[in-house]
């Protein structure tokens, strides 16, 4: 008996001890120490590769070394829009940076040496660039982890390895970069590497997109709930899940409506992995199920990105080239800054309107984007020319209500031939607008570069372009509240074809009039009747 009891007690004690200590036993995949963590990141230590232990004098020399192991890398990149800067839309329009015109700096043509600092290649300075060259692919601009890799605007995407004066005769010295150190430290892409170009689209921090700027390099949760540097810490490629260097989620081929379920492991998907739905599915709202009733009409971004340019970096909302060319009292090109120190006028570029914490515009979008190209006729009128426009409607079954940034501007065009102008802006030469402020000369060179006729006259036309707002996703607590749309003059006031409870413009006016009239007349009737009773009862007394 006694031993029996002792055995039971021992068993219980053992089981308790086991249960208590179980959480303390390290699991096979628990967090390792720092050295192991580094080791487990990669099977290769690039400092140990002989081919990288040399001094590099140019970018292509580094690429050649990369290709000695990653033999197919450049061939993969040659297939990308990042390399080609060209995209044929389903409608047959030839798009991509190489072909489109925008209402920021307008066109890369004749300005390649400057603009193409953001091309993932070396040496694209004009039409003669060799798109089949493997060594001209720039590996480092995406795979640098040191933050020291720099490309200098004006040098056609080439890098500086020896200190030099640039532009020649300017007295400005460009510091060289150490390609050997950078090459030995290559790694995965990051918000920094992608951001080196994508944050600066349009010629400066935050200028173009409004939902992408340098504040996303290391954002707080309030700015972007996914990229939160101290939280989920998403990189760009977490959503833009890249395979074989083919980066999905281009705005040239957007997915406006994703009816698919959340992607799960092991299943093959052909749909865009960058959509919200590809992780969150179709019914993401667990606490307030009614919100899921919105997902067939409203893009996630519409509620979850309440404002853009929220990170403290202003974005350009309009750009008027027609006022360019003014000189200051000192005879030098004029520059005007606002109270915050933002440049709002330069002689080279004209007037800007900047915006921070901007409430987006909203419109139906079905994923089709139409462009006004350089070959299209343009009429000057009250209605701005749509540089691009989003297709969509309430009833095409493919559209959702999307938040967008509308960029407005005035830009050069040829009033005789009725074409948007290609302007030679950048370049230390006699015809570049940014140095000589002469529109006719600058446009003549620009139009000649694409073989387009030019009348010799330059006028300005109002334009509009549309940019999807999809980054800077706020935490749920900061999302757009019900009353901001379910109201008269709310965010969605101008979105047609849908009944929004609370939006006064959707009401049947006759019903409201008749209904309130009925209520008021009933009330009046009772009041008159009651008054009669009061008078009668008073007479009796």
């Amino acid at each position: 008996m006694r031993t029996g009891r002792f055995m039971v007690a021992l068993m219980v004690a053992l089981m308790v001890a086991l249960m208590v200590s179980m959480p303390l036993i390290p699991a096979a995949h628990s967090a390792p120490d720092e050295d192991s963590a580094k080791l487990l990141k990669s099977t290769s230590d690039h400092t140990k590769f002989k081919v990288l232990q040399q001094e590099f004098n140019s970018g292509p020399e580094v690429t050649k070394a990369c290709l000695s192991c990653h033999t197919e890398a450049s061939k993969q990149l040659h297939k990308t829009e990042h390399w080609k800067w060209e995209y044929k839309s389903p409608d047959g329009q030839l798009l991509g940076k190489k072909n489109v015109i925008n209402n920021f700096c307008t066109s890369i043509r004749t300005n390649e040496a400057a603009c193409n600092v953001c091309h993932i290649g070396y040496g694209w300075k004009d039409d003669t660039f060799d798109f089949t060259s493997e060594v001209n692919v720039d590996c480092l601009v995406c795979h640098d982890t040191t933050g020291n890799y720099r490309k200098q605007a004006g040098m056609a995407g080439n890098v500086v390895t020896k200190a030099m004066e640039f532009p020649p005769g300017s007295g400005t010295m460009i510091k060289p970069i150490n390609l050997k150190k950078i090459a030995q430290a290559v790694g995965k892409t990051s918000r920094d590497t992608c951001g080196a170009c994508h944050f600066y689209g349009g010629g400066g921090d935050g200028v173009k997109h409004g939902d992408m700027d340098s504040s996303l390099a290391s954002p707080e949760k309030e700015l972007d709930v996914h990229m939160d540097a101290l939280g989920l810490n998403f990189g760009c490629a977490t959503c833009h899940m890249t395979e074989g260097h083919q980066v999905p989620g281009s705005r040239y081929a957007p997915t406006a409506q994703d009816k698919g379920d959340a992607h799960i492991r092991g299943k093959e998907y052909t749909t865009n992995p960058t959509t919200c739905q590809s992780c969150h599915g179709q019914a993401p709202h667990k606490k307030i199920a009614k919100l899921n009733d919105h997902t067939d009409k409203v893009a996630c971004q519409t509620c979850h990105i309440p404002k853009f340019a929220r990170g403290g970096v202003a974005t350009k909302m309009s750009w008027d080239w027609s006022t360019g060319g003014r000189m200051g009292p000192d005879g030098k090109p004029l520059i005007i800054k606002d109270a915050k120190g933002h440049i709002i006028y330069t002689a080279a570029k004209g007037d800007f309107v900047l915006g921070e914490n901007v409430v987006p515009d909203y419109q139906w979008f079905n994923g089709k984007v139409g462009y006004t190209l350089l070959s299209d006729k343009v009429e000057k009128s009250e209605q701005p020319t749509r540089i691009n426009h989003f297709d969509g409607s309430a009833d095409d079954g493919k559209s959702l209500i999307w938040p967008v940034k509308i960029m407005r501007g005035k830009q050069a065009f040829d009033p005789v031939n009725k074409r948007l102008a290609v302007v030679h802006t950048a370049g230390n030469d006699d015809t570049g607008y940014w140095t000589n402020f002469n529109w006719e000369k600058a446009v003549a060179v620009g139009m000649a570069s694409i073989g387009a006729p030019f009348s010799g006259k330059v006028d300005f036309v109002s334009t509009e372009s549309t940019w999807p707002i999809t980054h800077m996703v706020a935490p749920a607590k900061d999302s757009v509240r019900c009353h901001e749309c379910h109201a008269a003059q709310g965010r969605l006031e101008k979105v047609p074809g849908i009944y929004i409870p609370g939006r006064a413009s959707d009401h049947a006016g006759w019903l409201d009039t008749a209904g309130w009239a009925l209520a008021v007349l009933t009330l009046l009737g009772t009041l008159v009747h009651g008054l009669g009773r009061v008078i009668v009862s008073m007479r009796k007394k």
């Binding site: 609370g502 049947a508 009773r533």
Partner: protein, 214 residues
């Protein structure tokens, strides 16, 4: 004064709970409609939905009660004495004539009340109920395989719901006023609270005793 027990406990509970819910739903409903801002849209919508489910629950109980107790018979419409009652409210009430109708347990409502409440029960309530549920389940409706339902635009559903709400509002105003037309202004309201109605002192005219019942 002699008294009569007219309204049973459940009936009183049902009446006042319904009254509170309907007033609350009118208040929140017209905010959702956009007529004013009071609770804030989100709160108004949530409260309106919660109140709707509560009211539906209450209605289910009330329907059960009406049929199991036979009280539904109180709403069988009749034209008997309806003219006399109309005359009373348009003339007699001012001249001090007695009410031509005396409430009893078996016949609580005068012919006008019967008609009015029947209208509420058979027309306004179902209209609000069905259109309201259609608002709540609009997405399921749109995904329905029945073409008529799937093609029903939200604007139409909302139109019906709003129209029914206006009718309910008009009913409420009239009902509130008529509740003051007892032999004292608070007599009816007291009866609805305690269940006991004071028996009137003067006998009603013999010809118009108790419409319906018996």
């Amino acid at each position: 004064m002699p008294r009569m027990y007219i309204f049973k406990r459940f009936e009183r509970f049902w009446h006042w709970a319904q009254a509170g819910l309907i007033i609350f739903m009118l208040l929140t409903g017209f905010e959702i409609h956009g007529s004013y801002a009071l609770f804030g849209w989100e709160k108004a919508a949530n409260l309106h939905t919660s109140a709707a489910w509560t009211l539906i629950g209450l209605w289910l109980f009330a329907i059960f009660w009406h049929f199991t107790t036979g009280e539904w018979r109180q709403y069988i419409p009749t034209t008997r004495n309806i003219v006399a009652v109309m005359n009373y409210y348009s003339v007699g009430i001012f001249t001090g004539a007695p009410h031509p109708f005396r409430a009893t347990q078996l016949s609580k409502h005068n012919p006008l009340q019967r008609l009015a409440y029947l209208m509420v029960k058979l027309f306004i309530n179902p209209l609000i109920w069905v259109s309201g549920l259609a608002c709540l389940y609009y997405n399921e409706l749109a995904a329905s395989k029945i073409a008529v339902l799937a093609g029903l635009p939200l604007s139409t559903i909302a139109l019906v719901h709003t129209a029914a709400a206006f009718m309910m509002l008009a009913f409420l105003i009239g009902h509130l006023y008529l509740s003051t037309t007892g032999h004292t202004p608070l007599a009816h309201i007291k009866a609805m609270i305690t269940g006991w109605e004071d028996a009137q002192e003067s006998e009603p005219a013999a010809a118009v005793v108790n419409a319906g019942g018996r």
